[in-house]
Amino acid sequence: MSETVVSAPVVRRRGAASAAWSNARAVYIIWYRDVLRYSRERAQVVASLAQPLLYLIIFGTGLSSAIGGARFGPSGANYQTFIYPGIIGMTILFTSIFGAMSVVWDREFGFLKEVLVAPIDRSAVAIGKTLGGATRAMIQGLLLLVLAPLIGVALSVGSILGIVVLAFILAFALSALGVALAARMRSMQGFQVVMNFLMLPMFFLSGALFPLSGLPDWMTILTRLDPATYGMDAMRRAVLGSAADPLGVSLFGQIVPIWLEALILIAFGLMMLALAVRSFQVRD
């Protein structure tokens, strides 16, 4: 029996060189879909700003009064100013992890099947989803920069550029973590666990709400193991300027430079991405 194949005229078949190109196109469209959906969720975007505002205005004012208007760092930032960059980081953290859960959502609603049967490498799926989630989380976090004048923080073009880069690196690292987790989850039921045992501990240990110096040893160790710590710290120093450097996180008695914090996040993100790729490559 001969196996004559009727060849289709439209689709390019994969050669070695075109395989990389088609994977790049797949990454692009997976990313683009996330951005497109995000752009259609205007009401949701506005609603999701409510939580950071509650932290800043009510929690910030309340705790600031309770601690008698204590000042932080040599520049004498008040508590609200101190947590402002932390709240930007929190927004990025929550949006990244929530965003990655869309993988589980896609699985439950069937769209993931359309993605997984396409003739592309599964790594393109992991990379596309990570970049898509990171873009959303970054924009969501950066939206809070409009509050800077109200908080009394002066931003320059240079510092904004630095903040954008850091916001993206943090969003990338956390989205990669989220996608790596979501790739193994078969239903939304696991999400509660992720929230209570990962997202919230990461947030509370990150130093978004209090300085990470003078803590008991056990907690100092936990805070230094939390990748979000380096993002929050770098974000704080970028937003509040070099005056906030003495507040920086120390490792082995040394204050960690911002570039090293960025490197730690990138390395963590790449590790998580590799894990996500592996999870997606499993076939039944």
């Binding site: 029996m1 439209v10 689709v11 469209i29 359309e114 396409a118 076939r283």
Partner: protein
């Protein structure tokens, strides 16, 4: 004869732990035919289709789709096939066109022909005027049509459809079928589909009946019906009881009393009916005969009827999901 083969499978086996879902299936589907895979839920239909689509690995056996081995080159197979899944798989927040654009990128449809091809497939399923509507606003039938359009967008050699009409109303189902037939003629595509609707299997060129993981019957609908033999005659009389006795004693038949009617199977209904009316002593009130249906074939091959009630709880959920649209 040099008949091109679109799907070839030999000795396919799939085990889930101790359970053997597919027990050695051999298949040969010709290019350009509509091939139906018929069987009750849990017979192994979806498992087989998943192996052929490279979504699952077979425990044993081998298969080639469009001449490409599913084990050795899954990506090669995937670029040559189109898929319409049992469960909806559209992004309902996007428009019809955006869903197709996503697919075009994933399947590497060149930019030069992308727009034209998208317009073409939308036209084919009568959705050109709804190209820019969000899928959420679509009815179940429209979503199905869009999924079929998406399935053929990248000009696959073989289109797989897993229960393409489940949960749709009869009129929409007929509609979908007319699209599929037009498609086969226009695109010269091979269509491989599973269904548990007997009436739909009639549209197929050939059918394989699968039960408990094995193929128990294979052929054209007419060939399969011929295996039942003869015609099914339904009779109502003034006294069914007396008529039944007479049918078995004088006509040597095995009548079945069913809902106030008598059913018998005979070799040739056209010859039997006049003789019956002439010779039966009980007055005949009505008589009809028909060719055996695929239901009769299924009953004969598996000893069970395939019915709507076979739809399990998951199918009920699916149907409700279709009916209500389901927010997403």
């Amino acid at each position: 004869m040099d008949q091109p083969v679109a799907i070839a499978a030999e000795g396919l086996v799939k085990k889930f732990g101790e359970i053997e879902a597919v027990k050695g299936i051999d298949l040969s589907v010709r290019t350009g035919e509509i091939f139906g895979f018929l069987g009750p839920n849990g017979a192994g239909k979806s498992t087989t289709i998943n192996i052929l689509c490279t979504l699952m690995k077979a425990t044993a056996g081998n298969a080639a789709v469009a001449g490409v081995d599913v084990e050795r080159d899954p990506a090669g197979v995937r670029s040559r096939i189109g898929l319409v899944f049992q469960d909806p798989s559209l992004d309902q927040q996007l428009t019809a066109r955006e869903n197709l654009e996503f697919h075009a990128f994933m399947y590497n449809v060149p930019a030069a022909v992308r727009g034209q091809r998208i317009a073409e497939v939308l036209e084919m399923v009568d959705l050109a005027d709804r190209a820019n509507s969000i899928v959420m606003t679509f009815s179940g039938g429209m979503r199905r049509r869009l999924e079929i359009a998406r399935g053929i967008l990248h000009t696959p050699t073989v289109l797989f459809l897993d229960e393409p009409t489940i949960g749709l109303d009869p009129q929409t189902r007929r509609h979908i079928w007319s699209y599929l037939e037009a498609l086969r003629d226009r695109e010269k595509i091979t269509i491989f589909m599973t269904t548990h609707y007997m009436d739909e299997a009639e549209y197929c060129d050939r059918i394989a009946i699968i039960d408990h993981g094995s193929i128990v019957g294979l052929g054209t609908p007419d060939e399969l019906k011929a295996t039942v033999g003869g015609d099914v005659v339904t009779i109502t009389t003034a006294d069914n009881h007396a008529a039944a006795t007479e049918l078995s004693e004088r006509f040597q038949l095995a009548p079945m009393v069913d809902n106030g009617t008598l059913r018998v199977e005979v070799d040739d209904g056209a010859v039997f009916v006049p003789r019956l009316v002439r010779e039966l002593s009980v007055p005949v009130e009505s008589v009809a005969f028909r060719r055996p249906s695929l239901d009769d074939v299924f009953l004969k091959l598996t000893g069970r009827a395939i019915r709507e009630e076979e739809a399990g709880p998951k199918d009920m959920l699916r149907m409700m999901g279709r009916a209500w649209g389901g927010r997403r």
